[in-house]
Symmetry: C2
Subunit: 282 residues, 2 copies
Amino acid sequence: MPPVPSPAKTLPIAMFDSGVGGLTVLHECLVSLPHEDFVYLGDTGRFPYGDRSPEQLRDYSFELAELLLGEGAKLVVVACNSATAAALPQLRDALAGRVNVVAVVEPESRLAAEVTQNGQVGLLATPATVDSKAYERELAHAAPKATLHPIACPELAPMIQDGNEFDQRIVDAVEAYCEPLRGAGVDTVILGCTHYPLVRPILQRALGRGVTIVSSGQAIADAVHEKLTAENIENDTGRRGRYSFLSTGDPEAFRAVGTRFLQMPLGKVRQVDVREPRQKAA
Amino acid sequence: MPPVPSPAKTLPIAMFDSGVGGLTVLHECLVSLPHEDFVYLGDTGRFPYGDRSPEQLRDYSFELAELLLGEGAKLVVVACNSATAAALPQLRDALAGRVNVVAVVEPESRLAAEVTQNGQVGLLATPATVDSKAYERELAHAAPKATLHPIACPELAPMIQDGNEFDQRIVDAVEAYCEPLRGAGVDTVILGCTHYPLVRPILQRALGRGVTIVSSGQAIADAVHEKLTAENIENDTGRRGRYSFLSTGDPEAFRAVGTRFLQMPLGKVRQVDVREPRQKAA
């Protein structure tokens, strides 16, 4: 990858996702990089991405990245599994020489490869992510001898989004999804959807003490830090970062649900326009 | 301690607390010991314990332990800082030869002693717990060269109990309480109150990536497992545990708030009577 031409260290790190899920990734970045500014863009106006074509997702990713670069950004983080699966190589090509891109899948696959002792790695993800085989490819790259046990969890993200994290339905669903992973004797499980960290205690109970849960958030936080260091664009570590939030849908709805995902109040959310919105912004 | 006379392996593990906070301890026990039965007793009818005398807390602890032994129990866990500080040695004496007692403070102090690299250990706890110096004593025992940095957090447990975990007031309070710990360069922080795991992500953000958070829940889960193994009273690991919940106050209120602390629905809560209740049970 060509070096990024002298970007200002003081620019924010930009992050986008189809909605609020990526805020669990942002949370982990705030733990690791409290001195960096972040701008987060949730494409809630076109959420969900599950039924979009790869061509659409590429167009959306280009549009969102350009929108964020227009705000000023020294690094782009794709905190969205669907966009990563459909558009990552093309997005990296399109932005080459302007800004580098960190995305989900690769960082948590590498982390799982480091963590597993017995080579049996579970994956919990949406059906689209499981079907994409993206984690199989990355894990095969990072740990050729490891075996991935993918479990498609069609119901889990919508149930979490609805906001009843402690509902018996969620406990039952989590237990059913984890059952085959226990049977396979996995010692590591990748959370391949940014919604899942909200039910991490329930997942840990279903998987047992001996299983290490790896989320994309913690892995991306490490990857972002590495990239900032390698490019020498880390902000002054003595300062305190500022965060801003953009949404392509209703900013109030984003703020209400987003608070739960980021585990802190979001403050003001700014509405931005994109092509082909599903929902009108308020 | 004398060996416990052949208790039935199939009896439940009993746990009591002044209210719902100990359910975060129970959660960690469920992760480690999914095959054990548990009976949890929350003394919400006399909550809070903060303004009770040591003599009262001893009486309450004896009463609650006898009540639980009446239900049948092979081990008693005191998941309450106030009761532990006031009554642990006396309770152990009173139950000696009948059942062993595991309590907070000692297990997480030992764990913190194992975890710390630089010997600077923070403590976040209620004013009463900080004043009791119980953690100073245990840490001095477990790691004589370590230094404890205790921070009394008078507002945190009530704010968490009220249910607004993502409120800006909580974020601000957590940051203010953690500020001196960052200044002291601690690498390990003990959560000395069972309410605090509910805001662990906020605490981790305020403390930064390099600080390891140690909760009494995870430490007690290890201590309980050790005790079961040492006494050879662990239940069949192939089975699935059952949980029952008792409350000395309004069982519906206990169920509603407790779900958030245990991160799963509690099912039926049974009301039990004690002396000197503050609130009438419904």
